[in-house]
């Protein structure tokens, strides 16, 4: 057994710093590169791409990235684990095989985890007695069944462990928890048992710290952010994991940013509910048990994590079509910028009303005044306001009404208050609103499957 392994985070979302995975495999030693590509909205986008072209539906950055890093990973024995397979992990693996051939790699084993996509099995699931009731409203999934765009189960670490056990050097999954990507190599390397919940929780916490990329190494840090150095070359976080469950969060030497008690603590509280009950398919981790010790020099020890048994359910996330929305904006300038923007909003709303257009919601925000902090925003002296961006958004079921909104905001340039500009983008177009339906499914109704693709 290895004494320790180094697991490096390469992406916090699809759209994250493209160079980061390359930095992680070149700027210092690592054993695993883990990359989280999937936000909820990503799954529905990928599903739409797959509907148009059955060879797509995965994070298309991956083949290009692999072309760049695969020779380095092969040379140094670095394994890559990612959920960027999206709704088509098999196609993703095939694309990587093709790239590997192109650059002259002779042998490669790719493990693919499938079985999370239950979009075409919802009727079977309902017949088996699970109505995928919405976790927030309690309604049966039957109410939105016809509008479902994607439906995926969140798998945990163990299907990835299985792929590693059969020799995979790269593991591509569909919907897998972000935390499972980091926990899996620890289970595999250290032979951790599934019922050792403290160890499952230790790896899960490390996964939570890594899952948003640089958000634990100085990115979006609300502490003393101005003291951080060289953010242009921010070091993405690395978890040094030990067989007893201790983990040290660090980053490569000579990179920017900071790993400290404060930067790691901020990530620990990110998007959590009850800290005693952080639920994953692998365990229920107790975030209030975590001990953090700042060792200095960009090293923070995370230890003594407690965990409890996993639940009998997987989480399922379904996305479904829920009407349309459009957002338009105009910029008003001094003098009386805010008063002008407010007057323009009033005129726009009156015109929409006169046309008898109905929306589920119309929302107006004044960027530069209250768009991000609402009623908490400080009152401003009108003369001190240089400019205000009026931002109006509408949402509704009727496409034509949303489209007409786009046609009503543009004319404000010539038919409303003065000192207005910033309408270069043309009329705002309606975009489809994708809503989410979170539910639980008994684990026995779904089976993860691991396939091996070889070159």
């Amino acid at each position: 057994m290895k004494e320790k392994i180094r697991i490096a985070s390469g992406q916090g979302f699809w759209g994250d710093l493209i160079e980061a995975p390359y930095w992680q495999v070149t700027k210092g030693p690592i054993d695993y590169l883990v990359m989280d590509y999937l936000a909820e909205v990503t799954m529905s986008i990928l599903q739409k791409q797959k509907n148009k072209n059955p060879d797509l539906g995965y994070a298309r950055d991956i083949p290009g990235l692999m072309k760049k890093i695969l020779p380095i990973c092969k040379e140094n024995g670095i394994k890559v684990i990612t959920n960027g397979g999206g709704v088509n992990p098999v196609a993703c693996a095939e694309a990587i095989i093709k790239v590997a051939k192109d650059i002259g790699i002779k042998n490669l084993k790719i493990g693919v985890v499938v079985g999370d996509d239950i979009k075409d099995k919802i009727d079977d699931v309902i017949s088996a007695g699970c109505e995928l009731n919405n976790m927030e409203t309690g309604e049966s999934v039957k109410t939105v069944k016809d509008k479902i765009l994607s439906a995926n189960v969140y798998f945990g670490a163990f299907p990835i462990v299985e792929a590693l056990q059969i020799g995979a050097e790269i593991v591509i999954t569909g919907r897998t928890t972000d935390t499972g990507l980091t926990l899996a190599p620890m289970i595999y390397e250290f032979g951790w048992k599934a019922n050792n919940y403290n160890l499952m929780a230790a790896g899960t916490v490390a996964g939570h710290i890594l899952e948003c990329g640089a958000q634990s190494s100085g990115g979006n840090f609300l502490g003393d952010w101005q003291s951080l150095e060289n953010m242009a070359e921010v070091g993405f976080p690395i978890a040094e994991a030990f067989p007893n469950g201790d983990v040290v969060i660090t980053k490569h030497e000579n990179t920017g940013g900071l790993v400290s008690f404060a930067t790691v603590a901020e990530q620990l509280v990110y998007e959590i509910g009850d800290p005693k009950s952080y639920i994953t398919p692998d365990c229920v981790a107790d975030f209030s048990s975590i001990k953090l010790e700042d060792l200095g020099n960009n090293r923070v020890k995370v230890y003594d994590v407690k965990g409890n048994p996993e639940t009998e359910f997987f989480k399922v996330s379904c996305s479904y079509a829920s009407g349309y929305s459009a957002i338009g904006s105009l910029t008003y300038s001094w003098p009386q910028a805010l008063t002008k923007a407010k007057a323009a909003d009033k005129i726009l709303r009156k015109r929409l009303e006169n046309l008898n257009l109905k929306y589920d919601e119309i929302k107006t925000e004044f960027i530069g005044y209250n768009a991000t902090q609402g009623p908490l925003s400080k009152e401003l002296n009108e003369d001190d306001i240089n400019e205000i961006m009026l931002r109006v958004a509408v949402r509704g079921k009727d496409y034509d009404s949303i489209e007409r909104f786009g046609k009503e905001i543009a004319p404000l340039i010539l038919t409303g208050p003065p000192s207005v500009t910033g309408f270069a983008g043309g009329r705002p177009k309606p975009s489809e609103v994708v809503a989410y339906w979170p539910a639980l499914i008994p684990k026995k109704l779904v089976k993860p499957e691991v396939k091996l693709y070889e070159l």
Partner: protein
């Protein structure tokens, strides 16, 4: 004496469906005693009047000197449905730090 929350703590926020979570982390033990005492459900709900339209849940994390508040019915329907500029509640943390506390 009035102190600003931002002088004794930092924070991070994010979304959980239509709820936003705000984790406030005190810089030291003394600061944690202050936020433990003053960041009650009621105080947080009142602070976010006109922003949070649901219940506030409150959790303590003494291990990292933090109080986590979960603000229900806050993000205008959540992530992809919300029309808000800050649909994911990223700014709730900064908004929380505007709070002033009488000690």
């Amino acid at each position: 004496m009035k102190i600003k929350l931002r002088d004794i703590a930092h924070a991070r926020s994010g979304d959980k469906g239509d709820a936003g979570n705000v984790g406030v982390i005190a810089y030291d033990d003394k600061g944690f005693e202050i936020i433990r005492k003053h960041l009650s459900k009621e105080r947080v709900k009142k602070h976010f009047e006109g922003i949070c339209f649901g219940e506030v849940e409150r959790y303590e994390m003494p291990n990292i000197r933090a109080i986590n508040s979960l603000l229900h019915n806050t993000l205008g329907g959540g992530g992809t449905v919300s029309l808000k500029h800050d649909a994911q509640g990223k700014i709730l943390a900064s908004a929380m730090l505007r709070m002033e506390i009488e000690i």
